[in-house]
C-alpha cells in the first residue's frame, strides 16, 4: 500500500502540525494576556468598547473652543510658544546686551543652540520631528524672528557632546565639547549666545560634587568655560542661556566673576515649540516677564536639603525581612523595599525659605539667632553671608522696561474658606507699553508660641502672582488673591492643627524673594544689602492667635495625621530639625556620603533601638492593614454583600440595562446627586459592585480602567506631564490631492517654563488646551475617556533630582497656584487628568521605598501643598493623581491613610482616582493600598478586573492570579476591606461618569436644550476580529494534525505489500 511509503512524511507532518497547533494556542493565550492584549488591540486598531449613538435632549456639558483640528493645533502650538515667551527669565543684563538690536549679527555657541533638550523624561522635546509642524530649536527660533542675522560660519556640526541624561547617582561627565574651528569667521560686533544645559530623566539623580570635568555636575565644565571665554574674547557681547531644570552653579560667569558675561537668561527645559517664544524675548518682540523658579547658588552642596539627599540604610535592615513562614500571607517573594531612608532635616526651609530667612535673621537679629555662625557657610571658617551663597534669588526676572510694584491694600479673611486679596499697583516707568510680572509675598510673625511649639516660619513666603500690561508712564492696579488657609502654619505640638499667629503680617510686591524680604526689612527700619525694590509693605495685624479657623475643612476635622513621619517618633530626640530660632541647628548629615559641605555622616539608625520597633517594622513591611482572614488579632466581620445588590429596575429587559445606564440617567434626573460622590445614588451604585470585581479592578488597574459588570466604559491611559502622549491626526491623508497625513504629538507643554511664567492665567490656558486635547481624541480617535497623568507638581527640594524638569519650582505656593489654575481649566473640558508623583519624589535614587523622615509641618507645607490647589474640591478639583514611590516617614504613600484618607479624601474632599506608580507587588500590598483608598495598582496592561475565573466567580477557592493570597474566602471573611474596595471603586466610577465620556447635562434656567446625538457606551466586544486569525490557525492545524496522525497510524498498522 502506498501510504506506507510516506510514513515518515506523514509522521513529520503530524509533528509539524501539532507544533503549529501548540504555537497557535499558546501564542493566543499570550496575546490575550494582560501584558499583550492592549498592544494587540492597538496593532489591529480595535476598540473593544461598543458605543451606540442615541438622540438625547439637553445640553452638551463639555464643548470645544476650536472649530477645526487645524485651528486647535495652531492654538496649541501658539500657546506653547507663549510658555517660552512668558517663562524666559532674564537674570542679568549688563551693557544692554538684550534685547538684541535689530539687524545684530549673532553667533551661536554650543549644542543647545542647535538641538532640542535631551535626556529628560516626561517633557520630551523632539517629539514632533515632522508632520504638522516641526519642533523649533533656539537657532531656528531666532532665525524665524527675521530680526537678527545668524553667523552661518558657526554651525551645529561644530559642537560635540549633546545634552545627556543625568547619572544614576554616580560621577558624571558633562558632555559639551568645545574646540575652535578654522572655518569660523566672527565679526567683532557679533553678539555671542552660548547655551549651556543639563539633562535629567527617570531613574536619574546627580551626585553632588561628583563630575569628572567640573567641580560639580551642575557647575560649568572646563569645556563650557572655554566656550564662554572664547565668546568673550571674540564677540562684542556675550549672552549665556541656561537650559536646565536643575539649578546650576553660575558663580564664575555673573557680574564680578572670573568669566563674567553680559547677560544671563533662564530657559528651563523647553518642549517642542517654546524656543519660538524665547527667541521673541531675546530680540525684543516680546517683553521679558519670567521669574526664576529656584534659588541659584554658588555651591549647591551647602543647601541644607542637599546635605541630606542621597542614601542611608538602617544598621539592622536585615530585621525588616521576614521568612516565608513569618510573612502573614506566606508570600514566596518578600521585597518590602524598606531598607533606605533620608532625613529631611531642613524642615520647611527649602530653597529661598532657607536663604532669605537666614539673611533676614542675619540683619534683624544676628546674635539671637546665630544667623552669622560659620556653619553652612561656603567660605570656610567665615561668618555666613548671603552674598557668598546666592547667585540669583528665587523669583528674579529683569524687565526690559523699568517698573515698580507696590501693594496698596490687603484684605485678609481669616475663616475656613476666606480669601486674602492684595491690590498691587504696577507703575510703568518706561517709554513704551509693556507687560510686567507682579509677585505677592508675605512675611508672617515668628512668635514665642512658635518657638515653644517648634513651628517654623519662613521670613518671606511667595503667595501668588499675576501679569499685567501697563501703558508707558501709567499705573495699573491688579488684584492678586489666594485662600487665606495658605497663610496658616501647621502646629503639630500645641493646637495640632493649622494656626494663624497673632502679630503683623507684612505683604509686599517684589521682583523675587530677596527684594521682598528687603522690602520688609526696610519697613522694620533695618539696613539691607541694597537689593530692595520699593521698600514698601502693607501691614495687617492679627490681634489674637487663631487656632480654630482652619481646624475644619470640608466638614472634616483637621488634625495631626503624620506624627510617625518624624524619625523622633520611633527614636526620640534622634534628630534635630533645623530651626530659625538658632541657626546652629543647620542639619547634620544623616546620609552615607560627605558632600562638598564637608559635614560628616552620622551613624545610621538602628530599628532595634526603638521602643516602637514592632510598629515601625510593620509599616516598613507595608502591612498597614493585614487582611482579617490572615490576622488572628483582628478577625473582623464577614462580608455582608458579596455578590452586589442591584436595584429592581436594572437588568436585561428592564428599564435600565446596566447600572451604568442607571447612574448616568441621574445626570438629567438629579444632577446634584449625580455630582455628589457621597449621595445615596452613588452609594447604591457602589453596593451593586460585587466584591470579586471591586477588589479585582483595583489589583488589575493596569493601564486601563476596566469594565465591570455594572457596565461602565473603559478609560485608556496616557502618561506625560507635558500633556496627552497620543498623536492626533490633524490633516488626514488625501491621495487624490497628494496630501500626506499630518500629525501632532500632544505632550508639548514645558512645566519648567509654565512655572517660570509666574502666571496662573497662562496655566489656565494650558489646562483648557490640555482638556480640549481629550475632547478631540475622543471624537477623532478613541470614542471614550482617556485618563492622562498630565501634570508634574512635585517640589524641587534639591537641584540634583533628575526629574526636576517634570516639576516646576522649589516653592510650594508657585506650584500650587499654577497647578490649581491648570486643573481647574482642564476640568471644564471633562478630561480625566491627574498630576504626579505626589509625595516627596525628591530624588530618583532609591525612589522605590525611600523613607523620607520629616516633620508633619514640612509634609503639609511643602510637597503636599504643591498638590493641594490642584486637587482640592473647591479649587482645581482635579480628578486624578499618581502617587510617588516614596515613603513619608516609614509609610509608603499609597498605603498612608493619614495622607490619602484624612487629608486628601477628607480635608480636600478629593473624590478622584488615586493610582500607584508602576505597581510593585509587595510594596503596593493590595490590602494596604485598598485600606488607603488607592484606586488602582498600575501596570503595563490589564484585560481583566476580577479574581478567580471571572467576575462572577464567588467560590471560596477563587484566587487572584497575581496575589494568590487574595481569595474569595479571604474577602468573604473581611467586610471592612470589601467596603473599602467598593468605596475606592466608587471614586473611580464617579470620575468616569462625570467626565466628558457622557457629555450631556440638563438645560439650566433660561437656557434652551436641544436634541443632539450622543455616543453612549453600551458594552464591550469580547472577541475582536484579530482573534479569528488564531481561531482559524488553531482549527486548521488541529484538523491537519488529526489527518496526518491518523494517516501515520494507518501507515504503521496497515499491512504493507510484503506483509500481505
Amino acid at each position: 500500500m502506498g501510504l506506507k511509503k510516506f510514513k515518515m512524511v506523514l509522521g513529520g507532518t503530524a509533528t509539524l502540525m501539532a507544533s503549529l497547533l501548540a504555537t497557535s494556542t499558546s501564542a493566543y493565550s499570550v496575546a490575550k494576556s494582560d501584558l499583550a492584549i492592549g498592544r494587540m488591540d492597538g496593532w489591529f486598531e480595535v476598540n473593544r468598547d461598543i458605543w451606540e449613538t442615541r438622540t438625547v435632549n439637553g445640553v452638551r456639558e463639555f464643548t470645544k473652543d476650536y472649530a477645526s483640528l487645524t485651528e486647535f493645533a495652531d492654538a496649541l502650538i501658539a500657546h506653547c510658544e507663549k510658555q517660552g515667551e512668558e517663562g524666559f527669565a532674564l537674570l542679568q543684563n549688563e551693557n544692554n546686551a538684550l534685547p538684541l538690536a535689530a539687524g545684530a549679527n549673532v553667533t551661536l555657541f554650543g549644542n543647545n543652540c542647535f538641538n532640542m533638550p535631551n535626556g529628560h523624561t516626561g517633557v520630551i522635546a523632539n517629539n514632533n520631528a515632522g508632520s504638522y509642524k516641526k519642533f523649533i530649536t533656539l537657532a531656528e527660533g531666532l532665525a524665524a524672528t527675521n530680526k537678527v542675522t545668524i553667523n552661518d560660519t558657526v554651525v551645529a556640526a561644530d559642537f560635540g557632546g549633546r545634552m545627556a541624561k543625568a547619572p544614576s547617582y554616580g560621577s558624571y561627565t558633562i558632555p559639551e565639547k568645545f574646540s575652535e574651528k578654522d572655518t569660523w569667521v566672527i565679526p567683532s560686533n557679533s553678539i555671542g549666545i552660548v547655551a549651556v544645559g543639563r539633562g535629567g530623566g527617570e531613574g536619574s539623580t546627580y551626585k553632588p560634587d561628583s563630575a569628572s570635568n567640573a567641580v560639580d555636575p551642575l557647575a560649568l565644565s572646563d569645556q563650557e568655560i572655554a566656550m564662554i571665554d572664547y565668546a568673550r574674547s571674540h564677540c562684542d557681547k556675550v549672552v549665556v542661556l541656561v537650559v536646565s531644570a536643575n539649578a546650576m552653579e553660575l558663580g564664575p560667569i555673573v557680574k564680578g566673576g572670573d568669566h563674567e558675561v553680559d547677560a544671563i537668561g533662564f530657559c528651563g527645559i523647553p518642549n517642542d515649540y517654546q524656543y519660538g517664544g524665547i527667541a521673541k524675548v531675546l530680540v525684543g518682540l516680546a517683553d521679558a516677564t519670567g521669574g526664576l523658579t529656584d534659588t541659584y547658588l554658588y555651591d549647591n552642596s551647602f543647601n541644607p536639603a542637599t546635605v541630606n539627599m542621597g542614601q542611608q540604610q538602617y544598621q539592622d535592615k536585615d530585621s525588616i525581612a521576614l521568612t516565608q513562614a513569618q510573612d502573614p500571607y506566606h508570600r514566596a517573594s518578600r521585597n518590602y523595599q524598606g531598607n533606605n531612608y533620608i532625613v529631611e532635616a531642613e524642615g520647611i526651609y527649602v530653597g529661598y525659605k532657607y536663604y532669605e530667612t537666614r539673611y533676614f535673621d542675619s540683619v534683624n537679629d544676628p546674635t539671637g539667632t546665630n544667623a552669622k555662625n560659620t556653619i553652612g557657610s561656603t567660605k570656610a571658617a567665615q561668618a555666613w553671608d548671603y552674598k557668598n551663597e546666592v547667585v540669583f534669588p528665587f523669583g528674579k526676572g529683569l524687565s526690559y522696561v523699568p517698573y515698580e510694584q507696590e501693594v496698596t491694600k490687603v484684605t485678609m479673611d481669616v475663616s475656613e474658606n476666606g480669601k486674602t486679596t492684595a491690590t498691587i499697583k504696577v507703575t510703568n516707568k518706561g517709554t513704551r507699553k509693556a507687560k510686567f510680572n507682579t509677585q505677592l509675598y508675605v512675611s508672617k510673625p515668628y512668635t514665642a508660641y512658635d518657638k515653644e511649639n517648634k513651628i517654623e516660619k519662613s521670613a518671606i513666603d511667595f503667595l501668588n502672582s499675576a501679569k499685567v500690561e501697563v501703558e508707558a508712564g501709567q499705573s495699573k492696579e491688579v488684584e492678586v488673591s489666594l485662600p487665606t488657609r495658605y497663610l496658616a502654619s501647621w502646629d503639630s505640638k500645641g493646637a495640632k492643627t493649622y494656626i494663624m499667629d497673632a502679630g503683623d503680617y507684612h505683604f509686599t510686591a517684589a521682583n523675587g524673594a530677596h527684594e521682598a524680604v528687603n522690602n520688609v526689612l526696610k519697613q522694620l527700619g533695618k539696613t539691607t544689602d541694597g537689593g530692595e525694590g520699593t521698600g514698601k509693605a502693607v501691614k495687617v495685624n492679627l490681634a489674637q492667635l487663631d487656632k480654630t479657623s482652619f481646624a475644619h475643612s470640608n466638614g472634616h476635622v483637621v488634625t495631626n495625621v503624620a506624627d510617625d513621619a518624624d524619625i523622633n517618633y520611633y527614636l526620640p530626640d534622634k534628630v534635630t530639625y533645623m530651626t530659625r530660632a538658632d541657626w546652629r541647628t543647620y542639619p547634620k548629615n544623616y546620609t552615607n556620603f560627605v558632600n562638598g559641605s564637608g559635614i560628616e555622616c552620622e551613624p545610621a539608625f538602628k530599628i532595634e533601638d526603638s521602643a516602637k520597633k514592632d510598629e515601625w517594622l510593620k509599616i516598613l513591611r507595608n502591612l498597614q492593614y493585614i487582611g482579617a482572614y490572615y490576622d488572628s488579632n483582628n478577625r473582623g466581620e464577614p462580608c455582608k454583600n458579596v455578590e452586589g445588590i442591584v436595584p429592581e429596575n436594572v437588568g436585561e429587559g428592564k428599564e435600565f440595562a446596566t447600572m451604568w445606564d442607571w447612574i448616568t440617567s441621574y445626570k438629567l434626573r438629579n444632577p446634584e446627586a449625580f455630582k455628589d460622590v457621597n449621595s445615596d445614588i452613588w452609594e447604591t451604585y457602589a453596593q451593586a459592585i460585587n466584591i470579586n470585581e471591586a477588589v479585582g479592578a483595583i489589583l488589575h488597574g493596569g493601564n486601563t480602567t476596566d469594565t465591570l459588570s455594572v457596565g461602565n466604559p473603559t478609560s485608556a491611559q496616557s502618561e506625560s506631564v507635558a500633556g496627552y502622549s497620543q498623536t492626533l491626526t490633524i490633516v488626514p491623508a488625501n491621495e487624490e490631492q497628494g496630501i500626506a497625513r499630518q500629525t501632532l504629538k500632544l505632550n508639548v507643554a514645558s512645566n519648567t517654563l509654565l512655572g517660570a511664567s509666574f502666571n496662573p492665567q497662562l496655566a489656565y490656558e494650558w489646562g483648557k488646551l490640555e482638556g480640549e486635547c481629550s475632547l478631540w481624541l475622543m471624537d477623532e480617535q478613541h470614542k471614550g475617556p482617556i485618563t492622562v497623568w498630565g501634570g508634574g507638581l512635585n517640589l524641587h527640594r534639591s537641584a540634583y533630582n533628575g526629574r526636576n524638569s517634570e516639576y516646576m519650582s522649589e516653592d510650594p505656593m508657585l506650584t500650587n497656584r499654577i497647578g490649581a489654575a491648570q486643573y481647574e481649566a482642564c476640568m471644564t473640558k471633562g478630561a480625566i487628568n491627574g498630576p504626579k508623583h505626589m509625595g516627596f519624589n525628591d530624588q530618583e535614587l532609591n525612589r522605590q521605598g525611600n523613607a523620607c523622615y520629616m516633620t508633619e509641618q514640612k509634609m503639609r507645607e511643602t510637597d503636599i501643598r504643591c498638590y493641594e490647589g490642584a486637587l482640592r474640591a473647591e479649587e482645581g478639583n482635579g480628578n486624578g493623581v499618581m502617587m510617588s514611590f516614596a515613603r513619608i516617614g516609614a509609610q509608603n504613600v499609597t498605603n498612608m491613610v493619614g495622607l490619602q484618607v484624612e487629608i486628601m479624601r477628607g480635608e480636600w474632599a478629593f473624590d478622584g482616582i488615586i493610582t500607584t506608580d508602576m505597581g510593585q507587588a509587595q510594596y503596593h500590598e493590595p490590602y494596604s493600598i485598598i485600606n488607603a483608598t488607592t484606586c488602582q495598582y498600575a501596570g503595563f496592561g490589564a484585560s481583566d478586573s476580577f479574581i478567580g475565573a471571572n467576575g462572577q466567580d464567588f467560590s471560596d477557592t477563587a484566587k487572584d492570579k497575581t496575589f494568590s493570597y487574595i481569595t474569595m474566602a479571604a474577602l468573604k471573611a473581611d467586610n471592612y476591606i470589601c467596603e473599602k474596595a467598593r468605596l475606592t471603586n466608587k471614586y473611580q466610577q464617579f470620575t468616569l461618569a462625570n467626565s466628558a465620556n457622557y457629555n450631556l447635562r440638563q438645560a439650566k434656567d433660561g437656557e434652551e436644550g436641544e436634541e443632539f446625538e450622543l455616543d453612549v457606551y453600551v458594552g464591550r466586544l469580547e472577541h475582536a476580529p484579530w482573534e479569528s486569525i488564531f481561531d482559524a490557525a488553531t482549527i486548521t492545524t488541529a484538523v491537519l494534525t488529526g489527518i496526518a496522525g491518523v494517516a501515520f497510524l494507518a501507515a504503521c498498522f496497515l499491512p504493507g505489500k510484503k506483509e500481505i
Binding site: M8, T121, S168, E202, Q920
Partner: protein, 179 residues
C-alpha cells in the same frame, strides 16, 4: 558499537542535536531565572523576574519533559520488535517525537511570557532609564536561551521527518501471489 552506530539513521543524529540544543537552552533558562530573580532592571525600574512565579515552575517542567521525550523518541526505536508489539512500540516512540517539539514550543512561549517584562524594561524601555548592566547581561542570556529553545523545537520537528534507526536489511523473501 560500530554496528550500533551503523544502524542509526539521520533522524537519530538530528534528534541528538535537538537534545543538545535543548539542554543548552534549559541551562541558559536556568541562568536567566537565577540571575534575573528580584533584580531591578534599573534604579526605579521593574524587577527582571520573580523566580517564585508559578510560570517558571511550569516552564521547567515543560523543558524537562521535552528532553525526556526527545530521549525516549531516540531510544524506543532502537528496540526493533516484530508483530503488533513492534508496531505499537513504533507508534509510542513516534508519539514522544511528536510531543517533544510541542513541549519545546510551549517552553519557548512560556519562557517569553515569563521574561517579557524583564526584556521589555531592559531593551525596550522608552523611559530613558539607566539600565542595570546586570539586567543587560541577563537579557542577553535570556535571548540566547530563547534562541536555543526555539532552535531545538525546529530541529525536533525536522527530526520527525526522518527515521531514527535504519530498516533491517531483511533477507530476500519469496513473494507469494495473493490468495
Amino acid at each position: 558499537m560500530m554496528n550500533f552506530l551503523k544502524k542509526q539513521a539521520l533522524g537519530a543524529y538530528i534528534t541528538l542535536g535537538a537534545i543538545v540544543t535543548t539542554i543548552v537552552g534549559l541551562i541558559l533558562y536556568g541562568v536567566t531565572v537565577n540571575w534575573g530573580d528580584q533584580m531591578q532592571t534599573a534604579n526605579g525600574g521593574e524587577l527582571y523576574l520573580i523566580a517564585s512565579d508559578p510560570i517558571f515552575g511550569t516552564i521547567t517542567t515543560l523543558g524537562v519533559f521535552s528532553v525526556i521525550f526527545l530521549v525516549l523518541g531516540l531510544c524506543i526505536p532502537q528496540f526493533k520488535l516484530q508483530g503488533i508489539v513492534g508496531k505499537v512500540l513504533e507508534v509510542v516512540g513516534f508519539v514522544f517525537r511528536l510531543l517533544a517539539p510541542v513541549f519545546l514550543i510551549l517552553t519557548f512561549v512560556g519562557f517569553i511570557n515569563g521574561t517579557l517584562t524583564g526584556l521589555g524594561w531592559t531593551f525596550f524601555s522608552n523611559e530613558e532609564l539607566a539600565i542595570n548592566p546586570g539586567a543587560v547581561w541577563t537579557g542577553h542570556v535570556n535571548i540566547a536561551g530563547l534562541v536555543f529553545v526555539l532552535l531545538s523545537a525546529i530541529i525536533a520537528i525536522v527530526a520527525s521527518f526522518f527515521k531514527v534507526v535504519k530498516d533491517d536489511e531483511a533477507p530476500a523473501v519469496e513473494e507469494k501471489p495473493a490468495e
